[in-house]
């Protein structure tokens, strides 16, 4: 009995009229937790009842506390007939279970009914008293923190990043139970809501257990999804990254925050080492050799080459995983099999995939041999892994080991305790930590500087499954095996790219009838071995940043794979920054743009859209048809992305997300990413149109298309301010003295350096990307390329956390969700026609957003997240969630100049982004005279001609001066904002809570208790899909918000049709999220996302149903300028809660 849950029902307001005769309601409340129910008295004849109940106490296991929600039902008392339910409130009490989050839940909650929507509000106070449970065999995982945020949360420092955690639970879907035929829709919906709430609780608890076993205390990048499989069940699954987080005291500098050592799982090693040792003595023997390498490594000029274990070992693993492949899916020679693995950067040519283990160690050493460093040391640890490979087949076994180890160690789970005695051992083992892990995956998308060494490219895997073939639908085994299979494939893809880890990893499904497409994608990467080896434990001793041999702003672009044995065809050049390492011509990733990356101009949203018709079919035939289509879709999406990228004159994609959605008669593919120009990568050549069949198309036609394309490229360059700093190369010390030649040479990729001859042989001097027009389809494709309208002036868009090129956000934030469903009336649609319709749908949505948000200009739509679905045969549904944020136009240019100053790094010159003219000739001519202009010109965006060698220092001075100005302007603006707000709140007694200034908020929240009975106003809760709110600092994470709602109507017309119905439902969902956050004492939701929005309608029956699942992190954030008061605000927040308590 380790926990006591206490709940108190205070009052209700705005209740609906339940008794027509009196126009009043006799309301009472049932409070239920587990199997215990309490009731309040009936408050007769009132629409604003005051119950002021006693404290209802539930004595429960903490396991139940994690799984169950507190269920509050408001009813209307009826003497003669059954009591009518008004509605319910489910309160997830998880945030109360860990000490650092909320201490009390108190506030007004909307009373929700699945048929009528929100019907009034109820004021509830909930508290939990937890007794410390030292039972090491416990089933609960109270205290493990969950974050949806895909980076290290703002007020924490990650001492350890343990790695991938996943879990999956299955249950029968109440909607498909026999009882559903006789119960009311309301009862059915409520059963479903409750079940999903229970399942998410259980899932979270189980993941928490895994984290404790690994020695962590938190899950970051927690991604939970539902699969409504229909007959075969309801699946709730989640993935995340286990970490050990330390809370930073609010006073400490934010810098320490960024410098973290997310090193890998030493604690988990510590846990499992005893048992592992027993099994694999080889491992222990290896230790000396694996701890050896540091010295030679540091001597390396660039540490970009992967650590000892990179390419050779992966292959050993890969062999094991491909075995698994064989057993589960028919494997063909082509990579495009039933499970298609074309990924973007992937396109793994079959020879590589099928390479034998034996041949690989050799190639591995060649791969990283540029530094001419002997890598012989690496072979030893690999063999141990190889022997380990049998283990990998069973996903469970690994965790079982951990479990054994953990209990054997005798300490329940805190990493700190174990770290001490095992430290030495630990350090030696961390190097191979990643290798030991079953899946070296990270759901994080942004990392602290230096963590990410190299990025290989996107890896993705899809698999088509038949749900009616599940042997034991109520058990998770089959699905576990499916995902296991997919993850293995992802891992092997990463190996093929010479990478040992996958970052920005995510999983998704698309279900239509009995067919299910499972997808997973991520970015193959190499993480810093030094962090793994030494990790946080040495954080005080050395600052690794200064030893970092690879320049942070280009290092991640350097290829991790072996250039002689590339997994796919690519043009390699020397990095345009450091000129030491090879980089690809384009880079696709699923992660966010690293903050240190050098970028020219602004980023923009790039989407590839595709529709493919498919014959209606059943069962296996259907699955095969889909499987056959998938590779072509991926290929076309890839081509579209590539073309659009070139068209915008950019060379890298971040945050790439490819969704393939299956319907009865079509497949929809939507790829979204943020394009950016990385200055480390070569400038993209243009697009050249070539007519293959001159008979069909006149050359004039081709040249007119060519002209349009060239014009578009030129316009886009201007629009996104892409003026790559070609002259910056000078600082690097290029061997070529004459700039006139230089620019030309760069473009043709011919390098003077000696080692490169083989590269030139393998890749010709391809300047432009050639598009061949061989039929009318190709013409259509090119036309559709040009359809994408650029955002109107004042707007930018991206789908990542950070907008490349914009960082000076102002306080305007508007999160929104938009849903559009299109009915295809024409039955004889072609693929082309469908593509056009789909593209227009997406484009029109964007146009609508721009129009609606025009008052926020200058503004950027961030984290644009498109989700497509085919809910019915002729319907296409697109759901978008994004946030519009205002920024300060004036400061945009200055920012780039400041950046190097702030960093104070060697790369200052390289990072300067001068809006230079592209023509190198003219710039070179006035190179000597332009130094002064350059600094000024930069700030005013006058496009100065050039810069000289000493511009760096000038820019320093210049930008500090600018910064001063900027600061001044900043303070002035803030001042005025504040006054206006104050006058406002004075003028209108409506609310003193017009916030944005969380300080005020804190104050008002403490007042809340005293006012809660009167007509008090409502706390403003900001929501954003990003992990931050501009101009504010998050001082406290209050817990995860994970809510699932069903809404149904049998009077669709009366509710304003489908649009009216969904509009009010989405508004209600927002309202309920806000209410929960406010009750936790928070004022914002970050990393908000709408995971699911399933809409079904039956207009003939005047019915509709919608399911929505949302999640995010509830936080308290304060204005950045009020830092000193942060502590007091936090206190206010807490006392606010207790005051509420006292007052009632």
């Amino acid at each position: 009995m380790p926990g006591k849950l206490k709940a108190k029902i205070v009052a209700g307001r705005h209740l609906p009229v339940m008794d027509r005769a009196s126009d009043l309601t006799d309301a009472f409340v049932e409070v239920k937790f587990g199997n215990t129910t309490f009731k309040t008295d009936v408050c007769p004849k009132s629409l604003n009842p005051q119950w002021n109940s006693e404290w209802f106490k539930f004595e429960v296991d903490d396991e139940d506390l994690q799984d169950e929600p507190l269920q509050i039902t408001v009813l209307d008392h009826d003497t003669y007939s059954a009591n009518d339910a008004i509605g319910k409130v489910y309160i997830d009490i998880d945030p109360l279970l860990y000490s650092e989050a909320a201490s009390v839940i108190s506030g007004w909650f909307p009373i929700y009914d699945t048929i009528h929507g929100i019907r009034g509000e109820i004021n509830v106070i909930v508290k939990v008293e937890l007794f410390n449970d030292l039972n090491r065999f416990r089933q609960s995982s109270c205290g493990v923190k969950f974050f949806c945020t895909t980076c290290i949360p703002q007020c924490y420092r990650a001492t350890l990043v343990h790695g991938f955690v996943e879990e999956l639970v299955v249950n029968e879907d109440p909607e498909y139970q026999w009882i559903d035929r006789i119960r009311t829709p309301r009862a059915s919906n409520e059963a479903r809501q409750r079940l999903i709430s229970l399942m998410s609780g259980e899932l979270q608890r189980k993941i928490g257990l895994k984290v404790l076993e690994m020695g962590g205390n938190a899950v970051v990048g927690y991604l939970q999804c539902f699969d409504l499989e229909g007959e075969s069940g309801l699946v709730v699954r989640a993935i995340g990254t286990a970490c050990t987080l330390d809370k930073l005291s609010s006073g400490s500098a934010p810098n320490t925050n960024t410098h973290m050592h997310p090193n890998t799982a030493p604690a988990s090693n510590a846990c499992n080492s005893p048992s592992k040792d027993g099994k694999e003595p080889v491992f222990v023997e290896d230790l000396p050799s694996s701890s050896g390498p540091p010295t030679p490594f540091r001597a390396l000029p660039t540490s970009s080459s992967p650590p000892p274990f990179s390419p050779s070992k992966p292959c050993s693993r890969q062999s094991s995983s491909s075995d698994t492949d064989l057993s589960l899916t028919p494997k063909t020679e082509e990579p495009h099999s039933v499970r298609c693995r074309p990924g973007i950067f992937l396109c793994p040519s079959s020879p590589i995939l099928s390479t034998d283990t034996l041949s690989l160690p050799g190639s591995g050493s060649v791969g990283c041999g540029r530094g001419s460093n002997p890598r012989a040391t690496t072979s030893a640890p690999l063999s141990s892994i190889q022997s380990d490979s049998a283990l990998l087949r069973k996903s469970v076994s690994f965790t079982e080991d951990l479990l054994l180890a953990a209990s054997g160690m005798g300490s329940g789970g805190s990493a700190g305790k174990e770290a001490g005695p095992l430290r030495t051992l630990l350090r030696q083992q961390t190097q191979t930590a990643l290798e030991q892990r079953e899946f070296p995956f990270f759901t994080l998308t942004s990392f602290p500087p230096g963590f990410l060494l190299h990025v290989g490219g996107v890896v993705s895997a899809r698999s088509v499954k038949l749900l009616d073939r599940i042997h034991n639908p109520d058990e998770p085994e089959t699905r576990d095996a499916w995902w296991e299979e997919i993850r293995q494939e992802i891992k092997s893809h990463a190996r093929a790219l010479g990478c040992h880890a996958v970052v920005g990893y995510s999983e998704s499904t698309s279900i239509c009838e009995e067919v299910c497409i499972l997808s997973a994608s991520g970015t193959a990467a190499i993480l810093n071995p030094r962090y793994m080896r030494e990790g946080c434990l040495d954080i005080g001793c050395t600052d690794h940043r200064f030893e970092e041999p690879s320049p942070p702003n280009c290092g991640f672009c350097h290829i991790p794979y072996d250039e002689l044995n590339m997994p796919f065809p690519a043009q390699l050049t020397y990095c345009y920054h450091c000129r030491r390492q090879k980089v690809p011509d384009v880079l696709f990733t699923t992660i966010d743009l690293p903050s240190e990356a050098a970028v020219a101009g602004k980023g923009c949203l790039i989407q590839a859209r595709l529709c493919r018709l498919k014959k209606k079919a059943q069962g296996e035939a259907n699955a095969t048809a889909i499987s056959n289509l998938l590779p072509f879709m991926e290929y076309e999406l890839h081509t579209q992305l590539m073309n659009k990228l070139k068209l915008r004159s950019m060379n890298a994609l971040f945050g790439l997300h490819i969704q393939i959605s299956v319907g009865e008669n079509m497949l929809l593919g939507l790829a979204s990413a943020t394009g950016v120009y990385l200055t480390a990568l070569p400038a993209p050549g243009g697009i050249q149109i070539a007519g293959k069949t001159p008979g069909d198309l006149s050359s004039e036609h081709i040249s007119s298309i060519q002209k349009r394309i060239n014009d578009t490229i030129a316009v886009n360059k201007e629009l996104y301010q892409i003026n790559p700093p070609e002259l910056a190369e000078e600082g690097v010390g290029s061997p070529i003295p004459e700039p006139r030649h230089r620019s030309r040479l760069f473009r043709s990729h011919s390098e003077s350096s000696d080692e490169l001859s083989e590269l030139d042989l393998s890749h010709g001097k391809k300047d432009a990307f050639v598009l061949e027009i061989d039929d009318t389809d190709a013409v259509e494709d090119i036309h559709s390329l040009l359809i994408d309208a650029p955002p109107p002036t004042g707007f930018y868009s991206c789908n990542t956390e950070n907008m490349p090129g914009i960082s000076n956000w102002t306080s305007g934030v508007q999160m929104f969700t938009s849903v559009r469903v299109l009915r295809l009336s024409n039955a004889n649609l072609t693929n082309q026609g469908l593509n056009k319709i789909f593209t227009d749908l997406c484009e029109n949505l964007l146009k609508s957003f721009y129009f609606k948000l025009r008052s926020m200009i200058p503004c950027c739509l961030c984290h644009l997240n498109f989700t497509v679905a085919v809910p019915e045969e002729e319907l296409i549904q697109v759901t978008v969630t994004a946030v519009a944020m205002t920024y300060d136009k004036e400061q945009t240019q200055e920012k780039t100049a400041e950046k190097p100053v702030n960093k104070g790094s060697l790369e200052a010159e390289e990072q300067l982004q001068f809006p230079l003219e592209l023509c190198a000739d003219s710039s070179s001519s006035n190179i000597q005279t332009a130094s002064k202009i350059s600094g000024v010109g930069e700030s005013t965006n006058m496009s100065p001609r050039a810069a000289s060698v000493d511009y760096g220092s000038f820019a320093d001075r210049c930008s500090t001066w600018l910064e001063l100005l900027r600061l001044k302007a900043h303070t002035i603006r803030r001042g005025s904002v504040k006054t206006s707000r104050r006058t406002q709140s004075l003028a209108h007694s409506v609310s003193s809570l017009e916030r944005c200034s969380p300080l005020q908020e804190g104050r008002s929240r403490s007042l809340r208790s005293s006012r809660s009975f009167g007509g008090s106003s409502v706390t403003v809760v900001k929501m954003t899909p990003l992990s931050f709110l501009p101009g504010t600092r998050i001082i406290k994470y209050l817990g995860i918000i994970n809510m699932f709602f069903i809404r149904e109507t049998t009077s669709l017309r009366e509710e304003g049709g489908v649009s009216g119905f969904l509009h009010s439902f989405i508004a209600e969902v927002f309202a309920m999220v806000r209410a929960h956050v406010a009750a936790l004492g928070g004022n914002a939701v970050v990393s908000y996302s709408m995971k699911e929005c399933v809409f079904m309608e039956n207009p003939n029956k005047n019915q509709a149903q919608c399911l929505i699942n949302v999640s995010g992190d509830a936080v308290i954030c304060i204005s950045e300028t009020d830092q000193e008061s942060s502590a007091s605000t936090a206190n206010t927040g807490q006392t606010g809660g207790s005051e509420t308590d006292g007052a009632t």
């Binding site: 509000e121 999160m815 559009r820 009915r823 295809l824 409506v990 508004a1067």
Partner: protein, 345 residues
């Protein structure tokens, strides 16, 4: 191919003031789109007609959902469904309760009943205010009337607090309620030239001087019902016209004071009896205070009128036998200011 469903929901509810006004004015979605297109909003953001239509539909839906809340504005501040910044809330309420002067002029003084509501289409045709807008305005009047009917305390303050209106708008509503309650006719042809604001001023005067509330501020309906005792006392003023001596005495006093000060003295002198009778009769039969109209003459300037009434009032004080000085002041103070207000072109 058709758009089956199209919604856009912001965490902070997005509302365009221009569209709100079009909605309030009763435009259909399509008409509103036309108006917006003509207004040039399309150029602002490279929008197309479809975009405009989609936006207008979204906003109309939002307003319809908000309408329920606007019926009791206090709810708007503490409802949870829409996150609307306070200044926006105030704008929404203020505009929702705003009315067309031409419309209100038609229903002023009429009973706010179903019967009147049936006539709204006539009024709509007459005033060229859309029927939808007429209905909203009429329902607003009725709603405010119903709520304040049962409240104690000062009328204007009640309206202001209950409906969160600005002081100006609250006063206007007080006037509407006052007229509706006392059913003062304002539709007479002779009164046509008077604007709603003229009447509102008069109502304000009456409320602050002649109602129960002017004496006691804690009774129900204090500002709506006229002070009955006062009305009774007013009857006593009749003495000024029934008592021949008093009348003559009054006339000579007024004439002495006015002589040489105005060009229309002769006329004033001649019509004194009629004027005085008119004024006093109103007092005796207060239900129609707006019969004050007889005072109006084409040839009298506003200054003349002011002069005349001032002396007319003051002279009465000098009359030895006239004992109702207090009532006289309370009466004439209001009558004077009302007449001044109405005495315009």
């Amino acid at each position: 191919m058709s758009v089956e469903l199209d919604v856009f929901v912001g965490n902070t509810t997005i509302m365009d003031e221009e569209v709100y006004q079009l909605w309030l004015d009763g435009y259909t979605v399509n008409d509103a789109v036309k108006v917006r297109m003509e207004g040039g909003v399309m150029d602002e953001c490279e929008a197309s007609k479809d975009v405009l239509l989609s936006d207008t539909m979204d906003q109309y839906r939002t307003f319809q959902m908000c309408e329920r809340l606007l019926h009791s504005p206090a709810k708007l501040a503490n409802q949870l469904l829409f996150q609307i910044p306070p200044h926006r809330q105030i704008m929404l309420i203020e505009r929702y309760y705003a009315f067309d002067d031409t419309f209100v002029r038609e229903v002023l003084g009429k009973k706010l009943s179903k019967g009147t509501k049936k006539d709204l289409d006539d009024i709509s045709a007459k005033t060229s205010v859309t029927l939808k807008s007429c209905r909203r305005q009429f329902d607003n009047f009725k709603r405010v009337f119903k709520v304040v009917e049962e409240l104690k305390g000062p009328l204007v303050e009640n309206i202001r607090q209950h409906f969160l209106l600005s002081d100006k708008l609250a006063r206007d509503y007080a006037a509407i309620v006052f007229f509706a309650n006392n059913r003062f006719e304002t539709g007479k042809r002779k009164l046509q030239y008077l604007s709603f604001q003229d009447f509102a001023f008069c109502a304000g005067q009456l409320i602050s001087n002649w109602t129960v509330g002017a004496v006691d501020n804690m009774v129900e309906d204090m500002d709506v019902d006229l002070d009955k005792e006062f009305l009774q006392e007013l009857k006593e003023l009749k003495i000024l016209i029934t008592d021949k001596d008093l009348l003559d005495q009054h006339k000579s006093l007024v004439c002495t004071a006015l002589r040489g000060k105005t060009k229309v003295f002769i006329e004033m002198e001649g019509s004194f009896k009629n004027l005085s009778r008119g004024l006093i009769n109103i007092a005796a039969n207060i239900s129609l205070p707006l019969r004050l109209y007889p005072c109006r003459s084409d040839r009298w300037s506003a200054a003349d009128m002011k002069l005349y009434l001032t002396h007319y009032t003051n002279s009465a004080h000098i009359l030895d036998t006239f004992k109702h000085q207090v009532v006289w002041d309370r009466y004439m103070g209001v009558v004077k200011s009302c007449i001044f207000k109405m005495y315009h072109d």
